[in-house]
């Protein structure tokens, strides 16, 4: 089955991973800007990172028949440096016309602080000003519930935001329903230890339905599994879900969401 991984950090992965993903049916992916594992020191570091995302990584993916898209921002961990964050936000428009840029992301909260909230709202302003879609990171572990509520609070109190053009990622059992009920798209991240397992993700699909719900691997430089989406496909098959239902989750849904972006021009494998 072909699938689309809507959240994966390929700058952290090897070319072997691209080959393995292609063999397992991955035909498209989107890569949000994120934390490098250390705090960067200047806006020029981000400019180089955005060049990597918009120029280099898509070519690496194309060698394996995978169409690569990306999202730009300064992540929540580095948002504590408000001065640097504002320099990066001011620089992002230089890259918004790049053909593989889908929008602003993954913005969000990490420890749910005042500075993170301020920079989150400034990113939202940027997205509105340039008519961009938004991809949102929600915090980990004990911070997730509070942070997700804060994010939804900020988004729903802004009348300029169209929820159908926003995906709130890393939802779990205690956050998925409210994200969906408020009209946003939701993403579930399949991680070996934290976040969701494939089994729990399928439980959530069964309980919430498959409308506006996506799954991703968020494969990065930490403990993660870039081939986690095929694991979910296998789990859904084991439970007896029809192929058309599985395809909706792993292929149709991400394409439907991304199709709202002016730069999304995905060509299905059968039409290439």
């Amino acid at each position: 089955m072909y699938y689309f991984d809507p959240h994966i950090h390929m700058v952290s992965r090897t070319t072997d991973d691209y080959e393995r993903l292609a063999r397992m049916g991955c035909v498209g992916m989107s890569e949000p800007a994120f934390w490098a594992g250390f705090d960067r020191g200047s806006v020029e570091s981000f400019r180089d990172y955005f060049r990597q995302l918009t120029d280099f990584e898509c070519k690496r993916a194309a060698q394996y028949g995978i169409q690569h898209y990306t999202w730009l921002c300064i992540n929540a961990k580095e948002a504590e440096n408000v001065e640097l964050s504002r320099e990066v936000i001011a620089m992002i428009p230089e890259f918004l016309d790049s053909p593989n840029v889908l929008g602003i992301g993954e913005i969000g909260l990490n420890k749910n602080t005042k500075n993170e909230s301020i920079i989150f709202m400034e990113h939202v302003d940027l997205a509105v000003k340039y008519d961009q879609q938004i991809l949102i990171h929600t915090p980990h572990l004990e911070d997730k519930y509070q942070g997700t509520r804060m994010i939804l609070d900020m988004l729903t109190s802004d009348s300029r935001i169209d929820p159908s053009r926003v995906l709130v990622d890393h939802v779990e059992e205690h956050t998925a329903r409210e994200v969906l009920d408020r009209g946003f798209w939701a993403g579930m991240t399949l991680y070996p230890v934290s976040k969701c397992t494939p089994q729990r993700a399928v439980d959530i699909i069964e309980m919430c339905g498959a409308e506006r719900l996506c799954v991703n691997s968020a494969g990065d430089w930490g403990p993660s599994k870039p081939t986690a989406v095929p694991d979910l496909i296998m789990e859904m098959r084991h439970r007896g879900h029809p192929e058309s239902f599985i395809k909706k989750v792993v292929y149709d849904n991400p394409i439907e969401f991304f199709s709202q972006s002016q730069n999304f021009s995905f060509t299905p494998p059968e039409e290439r």
Binding site: K114, D143, R149, M150, D153, E172, H174
Partner: protein, 95 residues
């Protein structure tokens, strides 16, 4: 969000029967219970006392949730281990 024992059964659509689920997951559940038992034994064998540690209380409450018959135990466990949300967070931050 966070309402105990919501009427989730209305939206459930797992194609397997409960017997099939148990057949498939019995050994995995057994292994996870065994892992918990061994962890608690390890805590008891180690020097010191963590009974007054807030995390011990959370673990006890989590085990109580597992033994309930509610159909949203995973959601309740998630909320148990979550920081609370305060409606007035913006006022507190002054933004």
């Amino acid at each position: 969000m966070g309402i105990p024992n919501q009427e989730i059964s209305e939206t459930m659509s797992i194609p397997m029967t409960s017997g099939e689920v148990l057949d498939r997951e019995y050994l995995e559940i057994r292994a996870k219970i065994l892992q918990l038992a061994a962890s608690f034994d390890r805590l008891d064998r180690a020097d010191g006392d963590v009974s007054s540690d807030d995390r011990s209380d959370l673990i006890s409450k989590g085990l109580e949730i597992l033994q309930s018959s509610d159909n949203n135990r995973a959601e309740q466990i998630q909320l148990l281990f979550s920081r609370e949300f305060e409606d007035a967070w913006r006022e507190q931050f002054g933004i």
